[in-house]
Assembly symmetry: C2
Homo-oligomer: 373 residues x 2
């Protein structure tokens, strides 16, 4: 696609043809951000955004002998990729500028994530900045970092994505502070006959009560359908998101929903939080589940939750997502009826215990296990 | 405990002593119902209600050579017991008066339950009535049934429980139609200083909007704490239940919450329902999950849900339990933000698909896959 001629209602294609439109939908997605590191633009350095990226990585791994991998970026894409590469027998490192992976989660939880990587011989290197990617000798690449030199046969750059909005900006569509296209609840942009959906546009966060950039596949799907319904002549408003997210890392389920204490302060709440370590089943050898709850001291409203464990975590975070969706208070959650069976939880679910613990903490006015910075 | 002398505020114990009380709590639980079958009162026939029953069964299995077991009753206790006995290498049959096990669940789902039993060589015998338990030759017992004779070395009678209310009735405490002690939301009985909690008393069903008998361990725990809080001088109302329940059968997770179509009709709703077969993950070989949703045609309110599958079922039913708890409409559920990751669901969760499917069905006024009898 080369250009859009609004006045004429034409989309110009790169092969010279033009397509007429009455209604235009931007579903341009996002592009992986490639950090400006000398030498990073070489064959064997991949980002993970499009289906074609996945196929290219698969193809490269099949054709080239890869013994060592470096993943730049400890976000959830980095987590998923380190498991995949390790499972193919590749010695894998994850390096990150910050001091821990997946910063959205509580340090107590990210410690377990680093342990889980270590248990599978994946090294996490905090505070590590790549200064250059050079040709190696025994291996294809040598990464020069502030923490020394690292060998790699394949490099994955997973440091985030940016909304793809060049065409939209060129035709004067308004974008938000994060650069994503602004839309209303019908997915219309600042021009009535132009819609935007997916990773190129903003989405309304129901807990923060503001428009945010949260590029996730399930959200894109919903926005696409809402736009389609409205364009098709029916009427539907996109109900927004609450920030539910999960990933798998080897034997760990990791999930979160809603907002954390700092975001809560920024959104005008007075957050209190707690971390509860419970049991995933009623049996003596039950694996542990970690649950962090954040609630508003003024109203008692649940604001967010994080979870980690070997099973039953995503299900529990989705229970709490539903509670957030419905605007439930801690008190509604503390005695809620859940489908108890000894295999799937103790008679009091970790959700109940965590809610009760946070209520007690709020009653006693203690700041609690999680301080607010 | 022999008797309660209300006037004197004394509980008479069986050893002749008396204990004074200001406040009395009935936590007498329930007793397993033993069907009146000739010969059922023999060593080697067990019910499964108290911890001592479990220990007695374990002890019997360790001491006696048990090769064959018959479980009378295909409820969820029967399901759990058949797995335990099979896993100990015992050839196990489940017999039931009705045509399928765990009648709460949809026939499409109970067919899978019967298949799962069969896959583990546990035979389910529908329409089977035990007429007598006789001494056997090669095996300890011979059961005479309308479907022929069955050998057994151990028999489990799991046909339901009855609230244990003799003492309460003797002191004039009011009971409900099902024989359980009537309580208010503070767990007080018809006498102000007498409380009741657990399997001996009723519980308020938030969807049916009436008091029911639903003896389950997690509910008992909650009622006990509510009674304790009120007796201790603070104030708390028990928020009721919605009928959430789950069990495991070999590789199947089975769960349900809320009410089914017939209960909905009885409760004054106009139910519509649907069954959706979805995928538990985004991968091509994802196992299937069956979800049944019931909603009210007049209001769009969710009324109940049932689920079956090899993973992710209890978590999803608890999402729907939370939706029921909060009084959510199908429309709120259809686009709800859940923690998507390819390992744990497709981008549209089976919950979303099921809710959308039922909404379409209700719009088109079709009766849908589930008819209301």
């Amino acid at each position: 696609m080369e250009d859009i001629q609004q006045g004429k209602g034409l989309v110009g294609l790169s092969d010279g043809r033009s397509l007429p439109y009455d209604i235009l939908v931007f579903a341009t997605g996002a592009s992986a951000f490639i950090p400006p590191i000398p030498g990073i633009d070489q064959t064997g350095v991949f980002s993970v955004k499009h289906l074609s990226d996945g196929l290219a990585i698969k193809n490269f791994l099949e054709k080239e002998k890869c013994r060592k991998a470096v993943i730049i970026g400890g976000g959830f894409i980095g987590m998923e990729m380190c498991e995949v590469l390790h499972n193919r027998g590749i010695d894998t490192r994850v390096i990150d500028l910050t001091d821990r992976p997946v910063m959205r989660w509580e340090p107590e939880f990210t410690d377990l994530i680093v342990d889980e990587m270590a248990r599978h011989d994946v090294q996490f290197m905090p505070g590590t900045k790549t200064q250059a990617v050079e040709k190696g000798k025994e291996h294809r690449f040598r990464l020069i970092t502030n923490e020394g030199e690292l060998d790699a046969d394949i490099i994955i750059a997973a440091v985030g994505i940016r909304p793809a909005t060049d065409l939209a900006k060129a035709m004067g569509i308004e974008t938000g502070r994060n650069g994503a296209i602004q839309v209303n609840f019908s997915q219309q942009t600042s021009k009535e006959n132009v819609y935007a959906v997916g990773d190129c546009c903003e989405v309304y966060h129901r807990i923060m009560k503001k428009w945010v950039y949260q590029p996730l596949g399930d959200i894109s799907n919903k926005q696409g359908r809402v736009a389609g319904i409205n364009i098709g002549g029916a009427s539907m408003l996109f109900p927004g998101v609450i920030g539910a997210q999960s990933f798998k890392l080897f034997d760990l389920e990791v999930a979160a929903t809603g907002i954390d204490t700092q975001e809560a302060v920024a959104a005008g709440f007075k957050p209190a939080c707690t971390i509860h370590w419970g049991k995933a089943s009623a049996f003596p050898d039950a694996p542990r589940i970690g649950l962090k709850l954040v609630a508003d001291r003024s109203s008692g409203l649940l604001l967010g939750a994080q979870g980690i464990g070997t099973s039953g975590v995503v299900g529990r975070i989705n229970v709490l997502s539903t509670a957030l969706w419905a605007g439930m208070h801690l008190q509604d959650i503390a005695y809620m009826d859940l489908a108890y069976s000894p295999y799937y939880s103790p008679p009091w679910d970790p959700i109940h215990f965590a809610a009760q613990q946070l209520m007690r903490q709020m009653q006693s006015s203690a700041v609690g296990a999680c301080s607010i910075n």
